[in-house]
């Protein structure tokens, strides 16, 4: 019986909480330390991955992720949202602002680009060309093309293609209209594909 009970508890700890429980957790986390800790555990990986997609280097992504969660912790008490979807949007807005602030300095962008180029050469076995064969396409090459886009367009591509967000969610994060996000995505995608050497 004890083993069965342990298995049930383990199952419950691994299965994702229901939407109602998540919403409840967000509301409680405003003024409850334990609830905030749980919320952190649920969102840390997602935000870290988002930062890593945008910033390529692990140490940089870790620094920015830490900044994001410190900001979230400081302002959680005044967060007005009621649902986990609103919390996710808010957290991504903070992350996007932090990432764009980091990328605003051109020497930082150059350093990231250089790092990606170096890793790309290593992973592609010494091959380096601007036109990449699809079979040789790897993340460092994709990142180099991504970094050539405007910050706003980088955000749109990453939120849409890696975080699987809808146009309206992205619009809320970037403070744009959904139609404008759609149009910007179309243009950015064309540029991105062209740079990668993928035909539309």
């Amino acid at each position: 019986v004890f083993r069965a009970l342990l298995e049930v508890m383990e199952d419950q700890s691994h299965s994702p909480p229901s939407a109602e429980k998540m919403d409840d957790l967000v509301v409680r986390a405003r003024n409850n330390r334990t609830a905030f800790g749980e919320l952190y555990d649920l969102y840390y990986t997602r935000i870290f991955r988002h930062c890593l997609r945008r910033l390529f280097q692990r140490d940089v992504a870790e620094d920015v992720t830490a900044e994001v969660f410190l900001n979230v912790a400081r302002h959680m008490g005044s967060f007005a949202g009621q649902t986990h979807a609103e919390f996710l949007r808010w957290t991504h807005t903070i992350a996007t602002n932090q990432i764009n602030a980091y990328l605003r300095k051109s020497e930082r962008r150059a350093r990231l680009l250089e790092g990606a180029a170096r890793r790309g050469v290593v992973e592609a076995g010494g091959q380096c060309s601007s036109q990449v064969d699809l079979a040789l396409l790897d993340w460092p090459h994709v990142y180099q093309s991504l970094l050539k886009l405007k910050s706003r367009d980088q955000s749109i591509i990453v939120l849409r293609f890696f975080d699987a967000m809808s146009h309206s969610e992205i619009a809320a994060i970037l403070n744009m209209q959904p139609g404008a996000v759609r149009a910007a995505e179309r243009r950015a995608l064309e540029k991105f594909r062209n740079d990668l050497g993928i035909e539309s």
């Binding site: 330390r33 992720t65 396409l137």
Partner: protein, 150 residues
Amino acid sequence: MNNHEEQFRSLLNELPFDGSPRSEHRGAVREQSLLAFDEAATQRLGPHSPELSPRRSLMIRPAALLGFVAALAAFCGGVLALINNWLPEQHEVAQLRGVAISDEELVAALDLLVEFDSSHDDLTFDQGIQICLVDHQFRHESNEVSPSDQ
């Protein structure tokens, strides 16, 4: 997302990418975040919360905003009342009018003087005095012959 975009998305997501976080970093940031959360909660609720700036205080506290609006309204009302209630007294009006009239006479006299100067500027001082005396004599004689005498 259309089929084309879906394919591109699959292609991007199938690329090898190590997005697993380091547990040490995760733990360290958790601690820092909880500490920041506690500090923010203490600042929000505790007795030693930092003083809000007047502008922020107005934005946050409805009572402060109401007080500010009331004070502003009282000030504006006071200024308006002061303007409306200040009416000059009767004797002040007469005095002001007298000043205006004497001003007008003074201006007329100055005009006459300027006119006299410009029309007689080719005369010598003695000739000018002579003309003034004749003029004065003429006015004096005219005044002596009053309408009642006629």
